[in-house]
Symmetry: D2
Subunit: 422 residues, 4 copies
């Protein structure tokens, strides 16, 4: 492995990220477990930062894609109609949309999250003929120039070499702590024509901010935001890229609040198998695209549509899977509350946050969080940090992680905290 | 098929493009042939607009990816080090870079072309601490906001809802016809501090403009452009997304001119199998990224790296394949010259252009080009148009298209011209 | 007069503003009184929106400028050194700066407020090598593109046809009512690197927002803002264009709070005589301009420097004038409080606000304020409205307005309220 | 004078420009002559860079303004209607517009050139609902952010700290030397929807580029530009700030070509007396401003309107003055041709350019031009350089300069060239 690491370091750009925190070479993986080339086993609570909700190499999905390839079915075809696209769209419409009483048209964008976000905000600007999109503190929506303007992270923003255009930030729920109504500022700015807020085309928001540090918008706050948007002729875009596909214990994260966005962005686990795939859901009355007005070579990845359709059938034909996710979310939550007791015993103030299996422990210090996750890695658990200063230990374990694996991970975290603070 | 079309039309956003010109549902494909669900066979000269240089479902690539999946190897892992990444980078370095005396570090960006372009221009801005990137008339570099500023197409630009920032356009080679030195304008603007051109960080250029209408930059023009960049402290970025991976009869399109760009963007056929995959090649002295300064969920698609490495071994271990591409390019060229005779006989002025198997016939009229390609589709050939008004019939057939298939395509085009103009 | 009005209406662009609310042709004026061509006398509480602090045609200033012209002294000379410039700068330094223990270099910009603001923010960007300038809700800083980005007013912003670049708005003091600490949001955004606030080069703020509706920043708020700027390496720019030159009862409005800005913009009454004139005051360590980096034909209006120097000598050689302004401010305040009693008696909730002779009555309704000021005009008082919806009756009477004139104006307002609400 | 210089250097910002090339303190001036405080006489061929076409302190203008002030007429009144405004607009309409068969409404903007330019381009954007304004290489239109985007000069542009938005540069007439049709590029970009040129709202152009180095657009080129604009639904804005008010031997510089712009900007000598004053002329059908959509404190400077109206009556009641300017222009031209012979004799290649009394000698080297003008100043002639590298000695002498003064200036230039090159 040493030789491989040397070579990889030499050949790959300095921009590489995760191989710095987890500097081994991986090869095999299944479910919530991943193996390095020297045979070491790790529990994977990073899981593609939300791209592997169904775990690595799920057998049913794997079978579907291999069968598809064996049959010389179409892998790439720009945005031509294919049997795979038909299967995916029909399944998605049936099992996800109709089952929830939702009505959306699907824009199969380039297969990355930022492509979907750029498509959504462009459509919003076109519909409303206004240029401003409102996003929220600690939001993350991607880093191509259009999405970056909506992303709070200063590291990416300052690396862009250009100032932002067409954006405005508002405070997310609880940004000033419990009890401060952050939508008040937004409403005041909208009602005051000298507030400096250019009247927005749309609001884009995450129900749970993943990169931002597992900040959960309350149902009441989301409902109020929806009301503001409806009343003020502003589109509501929910970026469900990280929190979607069951992560929070519902297929869409916004189901908890019962809001119905005008546009929704999906990606990450949408293919189910870790393949690049993205889409924008568009309320039919908003599908004001002209033909070909937004394009890209890899929109509508057929392989991803095959595994995506299979994942929907396998996991979303009834409510059992979602129920299970919420149940496991409770288990992780209780585990984390135990860790918080431990941290407090060690004089570290900490907070548990999350929804479903998107959970985090805010230890208030990026340095401490890094020490704990580094120690956890040494002990065989891959788990990352998030938040503005990396102060939140962030669990995005596969939704198929077993109870034993969760228990093992909790023990590693407990031991890591002990080792770091002891 | 009718039911499928009805359902697809209902479920998919109006933004869909290719299913309008080719309104059937496809299912199977191999090499240069593709089949609709009603069993009809088509020759595919669209071929993913350059994403399928090795044809559909190449057996060697298919085998490699199936084997990889069967072994429970890692499909998705953000940008962690994997055995697949090692295999890809090592193979790319050995068979492509070292074999050409090139020295680049590889930035595995999000898997779409526009992601790679955004990464390249951001790095250029960071290196040079200047905001302007120069691109060229009829250039196409993607449509996320950063790339869109460099893309000439008015349809995409006007749909953006925001004015461009940080860009400047210069005339491409032969923009005013043969004999006008278009770099003179660029050089004059650089030398005149009141020209209005903000001193650029970089130039981004395609050796053959694909979307722009198969416009080929001459080696002399490219060499002069490289000299200007070197002399004036400007980075040279070659966007080889559509013209790269052997399309022009060399792996990199810029090999014809012998220039050595500072940064190169690759995508489209880089995976060999039609899977989303992109990279930026960075001269080592320019690899000034800080860790994690540019990110994205699907950077370094492992499945694509497996087929990508296999494609390099299969096609690029020696010069035979490239030689064959250039030979077939001559065949297509001669076929096109025959079509031009036919067009002229029908009183239509036309021009043949191209490099290797990236070729087009400019029939001067988008309406005529559309009629011809529509008729060709009726006769079983999928071929698209490009250029500012869609006036160029554009051949991007798989590089593995057989002589018989080329002959058949030419006959269809001949017959289509006859039918349209007869 | 009817013929003149007809002709003026025909010849002047529709953009004209004040001639709509006050549709007569004026000719003569002295002190706080102004006459229409048909001989009608008006009390002028508009007074050039702060440009006529010393009243119309003050005899001492008039004499100085006539004498200057009679002597064939230099009227225009770009930014060459002149005896007039020497006299002005020396007087300003002596009577205003040194007398207050202040140390600034003077940048004589183009003679409009927005020119000064553009110069100040450009210098701030240059010094800090950052692009963002923070301004505040309801702030007004001019409407050329650079200043407009910092101006809250939606009417001007939306007329620009371009989105803003390089700006961020924060809530002004009391924006959410008394008791809400609005700087908390700014401080939180600065401390949170994912807040979306690009780290600013500078803050620009008015001590009393004139166009914004006579909103007064408290000394404590300004001191806290100064502390934030000092601690966070951000420049503090005070835009004293409307509130400066004695309007608030001190020469600079920020004297009340004891803060010392890095940059100050002055204009409006700086010439004392209503002539166009502006400047930026720059702390010596920040005077990082290169020669000629900011220019303009009319910077350093010699005629304005003559009257400007004279005004300083006449009004600012000791504290008597400022004391008098504060005393009159109290008289206006008491008059306004009486009007508020009257309004409340008529069931209209209203609030009095202001500092020195920059005062307003917020009647909560733009329609009502317009009715009252229209009736006042009918009765011989010129007074305008301001605020986001024009809901504030705004007194910017000349500082030399006599007690009798103030009394007359109050009676007109009282009678106007009675007539409108009776 | 030494003490004054010391004090001025201490008090004034480093940004000061002209006092560096001409480092004396001036006090009196009349016609084309200006005096320093130590009694030295200079011939002034700088003349406010075009702001003093009628010379310093013209007796008739001086008398009119003194009389106005003595009568306690209104000096400042925002944009209220005044007798002065009536007199100015009526005179301008009668003597300038109607006399030339022109029909424009007048927008009295803030009194600087850049204010007028910002108003013109904002109106153009509003009318056409497009954001791009096309300007030309070496153009100068002011340096507030909106105008700066249209100004070629790199020194100002790079000092802005923000990239430009909403602009595009095209090559000015003769930019590539005689015989190259520079409008071809513009026309090609307009006709090619993938050229990268966002379809413009307007073109803004100077008939003679003053700051750009006395570059004269030929009548044919301007007529062709007008045709392009008319045919393509683009507004034509002529920025006549430096070349207008008789400078070229016609009141408007565009009269030579017979074009009729949609919008015209005037400033500089518009007041006749060196007072700040600007306007935009708007074809009636384009006067689509809403009331108050563009504002500013000093729009419609009454004092400037008095001298402006007087100047129109005095100089523009018949053709005699314009004839005289053209005659003197010929004298300067011949003098300059003599200087060119002298320069060539000294082995310096040089070119004479200009229209009317806006003339220059291009000596190809900024260093040489600076040496010559510095020596000329030593000998009593104030004359500046312009052009991208300051390579053009630029004559903008008052239009009232006498034959003797011109002769004296020519002798000084001749002697300066001898001394510098001898």
């Amino acid at each position: 492995m040493e030789h491989m690491i040397e070579k990889l370091t030499e050949l790959e750009s300095n921009v590489r990220t995760y191989s710095r925190a987890f500097p081994v070479v991986f090869c095999k993986a299944r479910g919530a477990e991943i193996y390095s080339v020297d045979g070491r086993r790790y529990i994977d609570f990073l899981a593609g930062a939300g791209a592997l909700n169904y775990g690595h190499n799920h057998p049913a999905l794997k079978e579907s894609i291999i069968e598809y390839f064996l049959g010389d079915n179409i892998v790439h075809s720009l945005d031509l109609w294919t049997a795979a696209k038909y299967a995916y769209l029909d399944t998605f419409d049936r099992l996800i949309l109709k089952a929830r009483g939702l009505d959306y048209k699907v824009h199969l964008t380039g297969p990355t999250g930022t492509n979907a976000v750029e498509a959504a905000i462009r459509l919003a600007r076109k519909i409303k003929k206004r240029s401003t999109i409102v996003s929220f503190t600690n939001g993350f929506h991607g880093i191509t120039m259009g999405s970056l303007a909506l992303t709070g992270n200063a590291k990416f923003r300052s690396a862009a070499g250009l100032p932002s255009v067409g954006n405005a930030f508002m405070p997310f729920d609880n940004y000033f702590g419990k009890g401060v109504d952050t939508l008040r500022y937004f409403k005041k700015c909208l009602s005051d024509c000298s507030s400096g807020l250019d009247y927005p085309a749309a609001v884009i928001v995450e129900v749970v901010q993943g990169e931002g540090g597992i900040n959960v918008a309350s149902p009441a706050w989301l409902q109020e935001l929806e009301t503001v948007c409806r009343d003020q002729d502003i589109l509501l875009i929910i970026d469900d890229i990280q929190a979607g596909c069951g992560r929070t214990g519902r297929f869409f994260s916004f189901e908890h609040a019962g809001v119905v966005p005008d546009l929704v962005t999906n990606s990450k686990s949408l293919s189910g198998f870790g393949l690049p795939f993205s889409q924008v859901l568009i309320r039919p009355e908003h599908d004001q695209w002209e033909a070909g007005e937004y394009n890209g070579t890899f929109r509508g990845n057929n392989a991803a549509m095959i595994t995506g359709a299979k994942a929907l059938e396998y996991f979303w034909s009834d409510d059992a899977f979602a129920d299970e996710v919420r149940r496991k979310g409770e288990i992780v939550r209780e585990g984390f509350l135990g860790l918080i007791d431990l941290l407090r015993y060690r004089q570290v103030e900490a907070e548990e946050r999350g929804l479903g299996l998107m959970r985090g422990i805010d230890v208030q210090s990026g340095a401490l969080a890094t020490k704990i996750t580094a120690e956890a890695f040494r002990q065989g658990l891959i788990i990352e940090t998030s938040g503005h200063s990396g102060q939140v230990i962030k669990c995005l374990c596969p939704l198929v992680t077993t109870g034993d694996q969760i228990e093992e991970a909790m023990q590693i975290l407990r031991s890591s905290i002990d080792n770091v603070l002891g």
